[in-house]
Amino acid sequence: MYNASDLKKGLKIEIDGAPWVITEFEFCKPGKGTALYRCKMKNMISGAGMEKTYRPTDKIDKPNLEEREMIYGYYDGDKYVFSDPNTYDEFPVSEETLGDSKYFLIEESVCNFILFNGEPIEITLPTFIEKEITETEPGARGDTATNVMKPAKIDNGFELQVPLFINQGDVIKIDTRTGTYAERVSKA
């Protein structure tokens, strides 16, 4: 259990069986009144926001959260299967939990898992991955300085915006946090 005085920005707490992270925190003490701890927080699963004010005597549950490194293995047709490099325990993860991250999984890559009561709730991939462009309009030569972008696809069908000079067969770096183009790695 946490005491109210432990509350601070970034602390992860449990309310009604769900994990929340405190995004804003303020210590308040209205004239001659009790100390109050005002928190804005975000549900770590749904992303929903909420505000809550605690008193000094309040006790707050500590969530059973664990951070672990996992290696991506394979897609079994339903789940994306990761494994713990030390124990070889397998962790199948649903498409829903991964969201757009599913497009950026590369076999053998090391990902960071946050587990809540043993279930993965947040998966962080390597920040940059390299992918080949499988489909895009032909590039405009010489036009390397402009910010004009065009659509392109990678092998798994994910579509993103790339600069005009990128051609089919080029390998590019993608920022997995945003799903956006970062730079060209090599030409076709």
Partner: protein, 266 residues
Amino acid sequence: MREFFYAAGFIEVETPVKIHAPAPEEYIESVQSEGDFLRTSPELAMKVLLSQGCEKIFQIGSCFRANEHGRKHLEEFTMLEFYAVKWDYRQLAEFTAAMLKSAAGNNPVFSSHDFITVDEAFRRYAGVSAFEADADDTFDELMVTKVEPNLGTEELTFLMDYPASRASLSRLSAANPKVAERWELYRNGLELANAFGELTDSVEQRKRFEAANKFRAANNMHAYPEPVEFYAALDKGLPESSGCAIGVDRLLMLLCNENDIRNVRA
């Protein structure tokens, strides 16, 4: 700021920082120092001076409150505290507004002021009467979440007449004993000052301190020795007076347009 007080006939005093017996308050905890305490406010010592014949006194100095850290709180902060014999708490409010306006110089942040009662403010911003909120034990939460952010948005706002249960060291209003002669001052949602029409009744004051001490004991807070010198001063006779305490660091926040008190100290 000092010039304004001198011109109004105040004398500057200095009272001990390390004290034997802080005023027992429900929610203010002292920092301990070798068996004594660092003052949470100079109030009791300054009232002893009033009982000894000082009529207008002010003091600027450090006060300490344990476990208060945040955007608006420092454990050690600078307090400006002043008392005037015979003044009532409204007269003290007008003086305080004039003093702040003068201290701010060309900065318009304290250039005008207005009044609202605690009950009006609760009805307007929280949708309940302050007395109901007090009875429901939601007063502090509503104050912080609904009321305070709306106070002093345009000009200095004096929040007048607290419910009697929150009188602290103030006397109850003779005209309406449901409220106390107490105000707090706000600007931009920030509490700047607390003031009382001072309670001079020694029996009532002892009762309030004993109740506060009981509350402290029940909530595992430090037990304080009896403030014997202050009680002796009350028994001897504390003159009719009003007093105000201002957080100087918070004035600086407003004057410098700073959002965090930690940025206005050395």
